[in-house]
Subunit: 344 residues, 2 copies
Amino acid sequence: MRVILVAGTTKTAAIEGISAAGATSRLLMHTPSADAEIISYGLPIQAPVTPISPSGCPTPAVITRAIRERIGFDLTIIDAGLARPTGAPTVSVGARPGRDIRESEPVPTAPELFINAREFGQSLPDDQIVIGETIPGGTTTALAVCRALGVDVPTSSSIPTNPLRLKQNVTDKALSTAGISPGQFAHNPKHAIRAVGDPVLAVAAGTTVGAIESNTDVILGGGTQLLTVAALVRHAGVSERATLATTSYLAADVTGLNETATALNLDLIVTNPEFGAHDVDAGPLSEYANGVAKEGAGMGGALALIAEADRLNEVIPAVQHVLNRIEQQQSHENTVTYTDTKSP
Amino acid sequence: MRVILVAGTTKTAAIEGISAAGATSRLLMHTPSADAEIISYGLPIQAPVTPISPSGCPTPAVITRAIRERIGFDLTIIDAGLARPTGAPTVSVGARPGRDIRESEPVPTAPELFINAREFGQSLPDDQIVIGETIPGGTTTALAVCRALGVDVPTSSSIPTNPLRLKQNVTDKALSTAGISPGQFAHNPKHAIRAVGDPVLAVAAGTTVGAIESNTDVILGGGTQLLTVAALVRHAGVSERATLATTSYLAADVTGLNETATALNLDLIVTNPEFGAHDVDAGPLSEYANGVAKEGAGMGGALALIAEADRLNEVIPAVQHVLNRIEQQQSHENTVTYTDTKSP
C-alpha cells in the first residue's frame, strides 16, 4: 500500500482573514514542507515550524505519521509547488507555487502539471494507492474550482467557525478576474485549475486519472479538496468508481457529504478515531472533537487503512509517541499555531 | 534503520572506453534515475532503462530493493546531480550533474553542496544510517579525488577486467588541468571535489560528516567510492569511528582493503551472499561470482543489514521475485547492458 501526499502552496492563503499576515503569513508557507517531513521522518527536520495549535492540537500529518509507524505503508510525496525547502524526499512534476486566485491565471502551467502527474500516476506499480493533500488555503481554491466546474461540493474548514462568506467573496473575485461564470469550465478541468485553482489540485487530479487508467484503485484520503479532485476527475471524463476516505470530524462539519459522494460515484468511508471519547485520554487530540483541524495530510485515508487492519485502537498511543518525540526535539519558539498555518 | 542513496552523474562516464559512446552513452545517464526507481518502487517506472547485463546480471539496486522488501528499511534518496528525470522521490541539496574531470572545475559548487548535505545529515533523526551511491564513472572520479587528497584507496570495477591504465590517464589529465600535484588538497576535501571530483562524493561526504556530528552511526555501504567518502570525511577533520560494509565480490577484486579500512579508522563488514555457491540456483545472480557488478547502490550495506537479522538466506529468492516483476513489466527493447551503464 502506498500513500501519496500532494504537497504545495497557493498565495491565496495569505489573504487577510483567510490566514494570518506578516511574520506568520511567511511561516504558514512552511506548513506543507513541515507536514512532508513529519510523515517522512516522524518530526520536522529542517522546516522551522511545528504546526500545532495554541490549544496543542497537532497537524493531521502527525496522525498520518503515527499510523505509518504502526502499519508501515510506502510513502511518496509529490512537490506540487512547495514554496519553502523541505528535507523530505519529493517527486518533481515541474510545479511552482500557486498565485492568489484573485489574480489572472494563478496556475499558468496547470494543463502541463495535470499531464505530468497523469503520466506519473500511470507509471505507479501499485494495486491500490491513497492520495492526500497539504496546502494552506486549499479549501478556498477548491471552492473556486468547483464553481468554475459548476459542481456543488461541501466546503469544510480547519477551524470551528468557517468564514464561508469570505471564501465566497474571494472566489467571486477569482471568477470575475478570470471572466467566467459558474459552470463555464464544466468538462474542462485543466482550464478551471489554471483560471482559479491551485497546483495541488492539478497534480492530485492528474495522478488520480493516471492511476485509474492503469487499473490502480484510488482512495482519495481527505475532505473538501479531495472531493474537488473527484469532481475534476469526473469532468476529465474518467467515470470508474473510486473511494473517498475521510474523518468523522470532517463528516460532522458539512452537510450533503453522502449525496456529493453518490453524485461523484464515490464509495464513502468515514472513520471515527474517537479522539473525543469520554473514557479515553486523547490529550491534545481531543481538540479534533471540538472541530479543530478535522482532516488533511492524508489523515482520513490513513485512518481507513488502520481501521481496515482492525487496529484503530492503536492510533491514540501511536500519536502520543510521535508528539513526545516532536516535543523533545523542538523548542517552544519553533512552534506556530495551527490555525495560522492552514486556511480556515 | 534508514538507507540513504546518493544518486548523481558525471560526464566523466562518457569518456571513450570508460563507457559506451553514442546512443548508449546517452542511456547510461539514466542509470542512477533507474536505480532510484527500482529501490523506491521495485522496478523502473519512468526511466527507459533496466540496468541488466547481456548475461542477465542485474544492477545491484535490485539486490538492495529485494532486501528492502524483506526487512523493510526506510529509504531516502538524495539528488546529487541526476541528469535525467526520475519518478523516485528525492531530497534536493541543489546539485547539478558533474562535468568531465578533464575539464576545469567539474563540480564548481562542491563546497556549497558539502555544506548543504552536512546540514541535511545533521538534521536526520536516526540512530543509524547506511549511505550508498549510484553514479556511472564514479570509481574514476573517486581515484582522482584520492590522488588529490594524497590517499591510497583500492580502485574496483564493475566489469571483470578493470581498465586501470585508462583510469590513471584520465586522472592524470584531471590533476594536470587542475594544476595540482598528488596530495596538494590534503585536508581540503571540498576543494579536492571541486577540482577533480563528482557531486555524489560531495553530497555523500557532507551527509556523513553531518550525521556523525549529530551522533548518528554511519555505515558506508559500498566499495571504492565509499572508501573515498571515508577519506574525505577524515580529511574534513572528523575522526569518529564509522563502518564500511561491502560485498565479498568487491573484497575479492581489490588488494589492501583491510589495511585501507584500518588506515581510515573504519570497522569493516564483508558480506558474502553466496550467489556463486554450487548448490544454489542463483540464476543471473551467479554473474556476481564471475566478477560482474560486484557492489553499488547500497548493496553491501543492505547485505550487512539482512545478515545482521540472520536472514541472508532470503536474499536469492527475494531478488528472483524482483527480477520476475521487472521482466513482466519491461519489454526486451527497454533493457540496456549493465556494462554500458556503469563505468568500468
